[in-house]
């Protein structure tokens, strides 16, 4: 654990709310982007980000510093995102969301402009199965083997889903 991480975690564990806010400010943009792209929904990603940080708050005591704090948070966030998607699949909620729902559009930020806005919108409109594999592989840079393990599918299924996503994105972005 790096010294700044160790100090921040120690302050959070001691109940220092300013420290927890600092942790949130530092790490939430990356985790929010992950949640937004994994769910494809602004509202759900906000709810999910809340859940992620409430979970972080509860589990911070179990952080041993074996990985960097950012990595630990990122792993926890991915697990939360996948749990959420499984829960949503169970409730068949995603089926009722219209494909062309404009609520999936992202607000402008410093990072999203030009072609990136287009790809953000298009990714949000992908079917869930291939969107998740695409986000984990092409956006987050995970290997197909890791993705297969996380999703409980084979490596070749992960590859196939990413391929499908690219072909659909190509059709949307042309």
């Amino acid at each position: 654990m790096s010294r700044p991480d160790a100090e921040l975690v120690a302050r959070c564990r001691a109940g220092d709310s300013d420290a927890f806010e600092l942790l949130y400010r530092e790490h939430s943009p990356r985790l929010f982007a992950l949640a937004r792209r994994m769910t494809g929904s602004p509202q759900e990603s906000e709810d999910l980000l809340q859940e992620i940080f409430l979970q972080v708050h509860r589990k911070l005591d179990s952080y041993r510093g074996e990985a960097a704090l950012g990595t630990w948070l990122y792993r926890l966030a991915i697990r939360q995102c996948l749990d959420f998607l499984r829960s949503r699949q169970g409730k068949m909620r995603s089926a009722s969301r219209p494909l062309e729902d404009d609520s999936t559009l992202l607000p402008p930020t410093r990072e999203t402009h030009g072609a990136r806005i287009d790809i953000e919108r298009a990714v949000a409109r992908l079917p869930e199965g291939c969107r998740v594999a695409f986000v984990l592989h092409d956006v987050e840079g995970l290997e197909h083997k890791q993705i297969g393990e996380m999703l409980g599918v084979s490596e070749s299924t992960s590859k196939s889903q990413v391929f499908k996503a690219r072909i659909k994105l190509r059709a949307m972005l042309r």
């Binding site: 949130y24 943009p29 906000e46 409430l54 979970q55 939360q80 829960s87 790809i119 092409d138 072909i167």
Partner: protein
């Protein structure tokens, strides 16, 4: 000219082809604008996707997290110390609400119970006199007395059901991807169990079998929540929700509660 499939072109982008196949596709792309465009588009998508960066969450998300952390902290503080200490933190508005709520429920139950205990005692002691009065006055006073008692019970039970419904609905609609702190609901269920028992016994004595039956079912659910853990996993929450759903208890509470509230005041 035979074009390679999109899947093969994707493998070319991914560099997952054998060296010989890679050279064959590269040679094809030099002379086929159509396939070259597919490859160019796929490469753009991969490049743009990998360049997607962090996104600043809306400000209200942090506010909501703070609020939920405060609620959770207060709930856990209260479950440990609220019964031992009358001193509360100025921030404990949420828990104060639950505590006041629980005390109101318990107090109402005790008042109603006291009322009925008094009535029954009085009725027992004055049984002969009442019979004489009924015989002499055609039983009018006795009927009115029974109507008032029944009305008081139903008003109190209606209020109790409304409180119970709030707890059940919160639990039935709760969602979690990990663990969920239900200590506030658990505390309230614990307080409602005592009131519920009093109302159930009174309803039985009054011959209100429908109400007594509902309160019996409600009591089992409340006891289950009250004796359960303060923090539940997704699986445990699902079990509670399935139990609530299987009994149809929220629906029954709504229907009987609504019927009670719609009855005209005597």
């Amino acid at each position: 000219m035979t074009h390679p499939s999109e899947e093969v072109l994707n493998d070319y982008v991914e560099r997952e082809l054998s060296p010989a196949e890679y050279v064959r596709i590269a040679t094809h792309l030099e002379t086929c604008a159509e396939c070259a465009l597919v490859v160019d588009d796929l490469q753009h998508i991969v490049r743009d996707a990998s360049a997607l960066g962090p996104l600043e969450p809306p400000a209200h998300v942090w506010a909501a997290i703070q609020e939920r952390l405060a609620e959770s902290r207060l709930a856990s503080e209260s479950s440990v110390g609220s019964r031992q200490s009358a001193v509360q933190s100025p921030k404990s508005t949420v828990q104060s609400r639950w505590t006041r709520f629980a005390w109101a429920a318990a107090t109402a139950a005790l008042i109603v119970m006291a009322f009925f205990t008094g009535r029954f005692t009085y009725q027992h002691e004055q049984q002969d006199a009442a019979r004489q009065t009924a015989a002499a006055g055609g039983g009018r006073a006795s009927v009115e007395d029974a109507t008032v008692r029944e009305r008081v019970l139903l008003i109190a039970v209606g209020d109790h059901l409304e409180r119970s419904q709030m707890v059940l609905v919160e639990l039935a609609h709760a969602e979690t991807r990990g663990e969920l702190d239900i200590s506030a609901e658990r505390q309230l269920a614990d307080d409602l169990v005592a009131s519920n028992r009093l109302y159930r016994q009174t309803a039985q004595q009054m011959g209100q079998t429908n109400v007594a039956g509902l309160l019996d079912e409600l009591e089992r659910v409340l006891v289950e929540v009250a004796r359960g853990p303060s923090t539940v996993s997704m699986g445990q929450l699902t079990d509670i929700q399935q139990r609530i759903e299987a009994l149809g208890i929220v629906f029954k509470v709504k229907v009987i509660g609504s019927e009670i509230r719609q009855q005209p005041v005597s």
